[in-house]
Symmetry: D2
Subunit: 358 residues, 4 copies
């Protein structure tokens, strides 16, 4: 099949994108002579300060990646014999190769959800485990914002979950690998970020950098600093202490500077909406719903799957339903979107597909 | 006390140095559009190939830092109820905040050494544990090359240890955070590197990048590829799978290109020797021995300690003996050395110190 | 409310029963002077031999309790980054306070079932995880026989599961806390036991003693002895090596002697059937199904719950449906059954309940 | 070689002895109908009360064996990133097959001692690790009383260690597998036991039953009950919750009744002293020191080793010095001692040994 040129930037994932030029530039500028390792440097101190400007009286530790950030955050919260309650779609439960179980020795209690979002009543159902000696004791609730399914908890939903969790004596961890996309979707300013985190009662969050335009790195932000009491030791123990920490701090400084984190995420979200508009109704393409953040989960006509994927890679989502995932990034352009739409149209035409998928 | 300008690059540590310009340049060039994450990219494939050029039919996985690399390597080697035998100075035993114990659930049997180097007879002494149900079973011998004390195993010493270990059914892990400095000291070419690793019988090694001029990263190299059977899963499980792996691969490509890794280490070693020559015999400074690699452990006159450290930071080594550590890096210059020597002279003069430390 | 005398032996659980007189007698006889500890004694050797008589060329290790036995068995089977597949009702997943996660660092993939029984197609669904680096790799299938819901896998069902598991490269663990009750239900002789274990392809099983008339203890039986290669070390490492092992071996010898294990389980099963017949149709009592082994899950009229439980304790099963669990044991008598039935009748009469529960 | 009849009860170990008749009798009496499992029974409640009579306002949990008891006790004390400080002879470090490392993920910092006893200054040496991010943080000091070398901490020594530990913010665990022998050696009454435990500042201890005349079992006693907050869950999680707990409680009740635990230990200690007197000065036997508790470590003439061991088994202690261990038990008799002495004399005579070993 002959298809037009594929989009220069694929829709495979936001972590297929590279780094924003300002981030790279910050790394280059930080490469200025010697600086003590392990965080005893001015970049790290400025970065800690920048997170306090963003979120208030918080303690921030930088880590290498999302799995490491989640493991560190949970390690800081978990007490003896505690379990973690999460959605059955949670990244910690499904996509971290059992890292939490191995490193933390912890049971994850994964609760069925259709949209990746826990609701307070599910905590009520689990509360009967509290005090029963034969059961790991729910100690932490972990939510993902935005979720693995591209949905977003409203501010009130997070607040209600935190309230219920705290009433049962549980703490709340927010996996924010795409927290910027959620903030962009929920108001698009810092007030929005604060509303669904510190104001809502979240105890510890991870603040994603990798999927939002840096080379790689995540921040663990303790919204209640007393929870960070052992965090420095734990970060090293779970292998997440970078040696030349200044280079990671410099990246986050560039990301936080001038609210760049928010602008990049807003752009990615907006591009997902444009991609939705550009492809919804195309022959062989059915979008179950418009995007909330930067991911789309279209159902494709089965004959479209192989040729389109060969042409510009994307991941399967639900093979049985021939549903796939298209994801935009901080650097997605209108040209990329037009190129994808053109490719779809061209492939459908050649395959004589005229209707939507199912 | 009035002292001359301190050295622009301190002697605190080789991980206080930044990245070599060619490394940074490689990162910038790798930031070229989209590439699939988690290693499915051309940089990673080229990097794997470069390690095969260097060491033969090996499997290589990149990781974030030294603790992560060691944990991954050991995770690949350890069987049920196995223990790790190491020197009492081993980084895994003393400087990783118990990461091996926590993540691997493994006992480290740390054997007393004076120079950080295990000898084969120490394995004989431990062999009586084999087959005894009340003891964790020695399964892996871990050595560090060059060692935490700045010493280097000769090629024959590594070979003899590997031979003895294999005879008892143990495998051998080499912590190569400063493997380049060892290669530089043992011949200064690739043949030397091969001689004390693959030829000597080492099973798995880590190949350090962080302390040798990159932004941060270590390679785990399986010299017997069958040991890597589960390594991809384990890397993710121990939180050491980078998302945008191309940026780490690009750094290692720049490091391996044109034997840069070797030149940088040779430079650091040579600078340590020059620092030794420039300061040995200065009032208040006594070097127990000339350097083998890039670290010196001078004993300082006690009154020199505080003013010199305030002036240009370095770490204590043995407080009781007022012994400190001076470490050179890939970027140490003759001017740095001259500046340190000037500072020592000036401080000694002002303090009217005329003899060596003890 | 005035009720007749409660049953001397309650229907709370089979582990509320004591030990069979022959078991106690064996302990008393084993208390004969000195014997080396940790299994180097004649009782332990005879016990190992007795299990070989029962199940063929097997290796058997005794342990203290069911959680310990399961942890040891799984520790012997699990490879690096492996996960355990089990039913969502599995004891290892729901009733062991996270011991497998903590001690083995393993992820349990618990699959929804309505009757506590896995089916081969569920393994097909999980096979897509194999080879994917972001997922813990299914390595062991764990089934319970008889299940936590009082159901029993047929011989063919176990064989089909083992076959499918092995085809995917997984091993099979059978949690046999009530294996004797299953053997009694599936034929009532040793051939039946062999048919659904060694003949069906199970790799490792636990053989329960505690719930079948001994003071306390479980056997881990390796049906493929090569899987026991590290088992002696692992038993000690997971805290399950008894010091004076002879006393545990003596109990199992008494249990295996003359097929007592089978007779006791047959009795318990038969008593459950008699209890079913004696109470089915009583006012306020509805049995969803007749018992297969030694447990009944009647739905009670809500007003009956509190007075009956106060009178003779039993456990809730599904509070929302006011379903409870009645369990018979090796020592349940017809008088106990008659007493329970009388109590139900008397309570129902006083509460003027005339129909069944729902 | 022809030797007289060996001693009916060997000197191999105190865990080679059986159970005291009163203990067995208690088990038989506890086998009286049904009782709820997992500790909800009158025997367990009486046992908890008996420990309060012994040691004050304590919380007591029974476990199966020494490794399990130590693991549970440490699990209750350890915080995130904590390490355990112990002697290099500590059972937890040398004889538990790495159970603490595996189950607790904890680093043991084993400090060299000549007599198995830690001294407060060793804690000072370790205090420099506190606050250093690269080191597991000393959190618990673990001592053994009486020690693995048959020595005993004086009351003042324990108090001084506890005081120093607490000053650094560490808690103190006492491994009391042979705590009764220590109490017997330090005064022989309950006041002595209290003096070196609760009065001295110990936080948690294990109280050994197995080596002092029961079938098998150890108690974990929390001298500060707030440390037991999660202990019930942890006991289950580390596989140490017995199902039919009444049978273990009954054994401890018999052991505590009328101070039987103290009498049995006093007897064992006294027998060791008599064995010392009966064999010291015999040809080929040299005792480095008289016994403090129930173990002797004689150096034997090398030619005596094999024939004597074949005749009546005992364990090597230091093969290089041909030093062995002879251990008395609660049931050792004067006839046993006389028989051993006769055997030694006869063997020495036949081998024409006239002097002591070295």
């Amino acid at each position: 099949m002959q298809l037009p040129a594929p989009p220069p930037r694929s829709f495979a994932s936001d972590n297929a994108a590279g780094a924003h030029p300002a981030v790279l530039d910050a790394v280059v500028r930080a490469n200025d002579g010697h600086a003590l390792a392990y965080g005893d440097d001015p970049w790290t101190r400025r970065c800690e300060s920048a997170f306090r400007d963003l979120l208030g009286d918080v303690t921030t530790l930088l880590t290498f990646n999302g799995t490491g950030a989640n493991v560190l955050a949970l390690a800081s919260l978990l007490g003896p014999a505690d379990a973690v309650v999460c959605s059955d779609w949670a990244h910690i439960a499904t996509d971290e190769t059992g890292a939490p179980e191995r490193i933390l020795g912890v049971k994850l209690i994964d609760v069925p959800t259709t949209d990746g979002k826990l609701v307070p009543d599910q905590l009520d159902d689990l509360a009967h485990l509290l005090g029963q000696v034969h059961h790991a004791q729910p100690g932490v609730v972990s939510i993902t914002q935005s979720t693995e399914l591209g949905t977003v908890y409203t501010i009130d939903e997070v607040a209600a979950l935190c309230d219920r969790a705290h009433r049962f004596g549980l703490t709340v961890h927010l996996d924010g690998a795409r927290i910027a996309n959620a903030a962009a979707a929920l108001g698009g300013d810092i007030a929005a970020l604060r509303a669904f985190t510190v104001d809502a009662g979240v105890d510890v969050l991870t603040f994603g950098g990798t999927k939002n335009g840096i080379l790689g790195g995540e921040a663990v932000v303790y919204l209640r600093p007393e929870l960070a009491r052992r965090a420095l030791y734990l970060r090293k123990q779970v292998t997440q202490l970078p040696s030349k920490l200044r280079f990671l701090a410099a990246q986050f400084l560039a990301l936080l500077e001038g609210d760049r984190w928010l602008q990049l995420a807003q752009h990615a979200n907006e591009m997902a909406m444009r991609l939705y508009r550009a492809t919804d109704g195309l022959p062989g393409v059915a979008h179950p719903a418009p995007p909330v953040v930067n991911s789309l989960f279209p159902v494709l006509h089965p004959e479209l799957l192989a040729p389109l994927r060969d042409w510009s890679f994307f991941w399967d989502w639900d093979v049985a339903r021939h549903q796939v995932r298209w994801m935009t990034a901080w650097d997605t352009t209108d040209d990329d979107i037009a190129a994808l739409a053109d490719g779809v149209r061209s492939a459908a035409e050649q395959l004589e597909i005229t209707s939507v998928a199912t």
